[in-house]
Amino acid sequence: MSAATGALAPASRRHLPWVALIIVAASVLIAVTAGLIAPHDPEAIDPINAELPPVFLDGGAWTYPLGTDRLGRDVLSRILFGARLSLGVAAVALLIGGLVGTALGVIAGYRGGWVDALIMRLADTFLAFPSVLIALVLAVTVGPSFWVVALVLGLVLWARFARLVRGEVLAWKVRDFIALARVAGARGPYIAIHHLLPNVVNSLVVLCTLQVGWAIVVEASLTFLGAGIPPPAPTWGGMVAEGLDFIETAWWISVMPGVAILLVVFAFNVVGDWLRDRLDPQLRAV
């Protein structure tokens, strides 16, 4: 019945994933080639052209399509370079969280018993962890940086990965082919890598996609608070924060990077939902 209603869904719902996929691909491409396509140096200061409005407003010019900030830096170029930092942090955080979480999840699910209990308690604890606050503490003690943000995100992400992978391993462990491998004399780590992991890959891809958006939003929030990637690096969260004081006169400084966050995060979430529905119906609860 659900498929029947799905088939009746309007065209907009069927095309949305493709639009989102294009945005995702474009953002990745921009992140990689920002240096080639950005019209200006994102950190070049031009005081004469400070707080220039975007081209579609009175006084705007094509030289600075999305206007300039209070130091006369090109908003568009900073947004393009910001994609590199935002997606970069998300990628590093997912790599850390994904590797640690998957490994611990496989161990927890495969070994069971007290190992499982310990790892899952720990995962629950990290999920309840106030990551924003820890990031603030890190900003004061260690100093804010790209790697600190990636680490803080990874601290929460590993627990999400561990939970998912453990659940899947528990479900797959009881299947016949795993028992067969064990009877054939395969050892634990071999079974985990050759038999269990390939079956979990779908779910991992879905979870990664769904978490990119989360990671970008949290990174932007931390940077906004001054606990993320420090200035003068062009970051979306940082740009919004810098523009806050000029919101009445030059709203575009804050609003434009926010639109970039919204578009990219929205696109990743749509693609994630779409992948989940296609690849992995069991994951709906996550």
Binding site: A3, A4, T5
Partner: protein, 325 residues
Amino acid sequence: MTDAPLLEVRDLTVDVIGERGVGRAVDGISFAVNRSEAVGLIGESGSGKSLTCLSLMRLNQAPGTAITGGVIEFDGQDLLRLDADAMRAYRGRRIAMVLQDPMAALNPVLSVRDQIGEVLALHRGVRGAAQEPIALDLLQLLRVPDPPRVLRSYPHQLSGGMRQRVVSAIALAGGPDLLIADEPTTALDVTVQAAYLRLLRHLQQEKGLAILFVTHDLGAIARICDRVAVMYGGRIVEVTDVATIFRAPQHPYTQALLRSLPDVDRRPERLEPIPGQPPSVLAPRVGCPFAPRCGEATDLCRTEAPPETLLAAEHTVRCWARQAT
């Protein structure tokens, strides 16, 4: 008009709209239930009997299923012509229902008192403290031990048999003329089953309640019903009184059903399961639905659906091999 049946169903057709197409789950069935009469509707799972029940109250799931034709006349009113509000006035008030699984049929977060009281308020305008004595009487009527305690209980605190009695008390709270019982005993222990069936029979005889008893269990039919309709593959294949169905069943399916029933007179090795599988709802409907499993099937059976034949007073059958001579 008093001898007109309480419920008369004519050519009721219900379609199931599935992922792989539309199937006719209930295919033009007709039957009647008289006042104060217990009628059994028997069939295997998938024969369309549960869907028939839900359709009678127009509670069949939309958009998954749709009533596409026929007449459901209750006390002279065609229920299919009523608007949603008018239909709701019949539910619980004139026609009540007891569902298959008493474990799942009660709302776990509401007390028994709330769940009975709700019907009293809705259909009898009884509110507040005045509900208490009526609810206690209802539980008493259903022979629930210690009614005051049960009334305060939540469903999880009651046993399966007790829950089924509470569900029945809820059904009777609106003072209905017809009770539709959809496999009410399937989920119960055998001893509890017998007691519950006796209770239903008692209610029917003492209170003048008409019952449509839906089951796959011929034994239960024998205990409680006056007449029986046998359903197979979305059609009613035989209707007769309960004595005839056991003594002289006519339709090959009914006969096969009886042979598959354990009996004190017959040794277990003589039990004969019916060969083959009941038809899929989505299968194309040509000929008699039972033909693929019927020992007497002819080419005619496989190509053309048999008409309803009146064999004797109150005994109809749909079978090419049982045409009245």
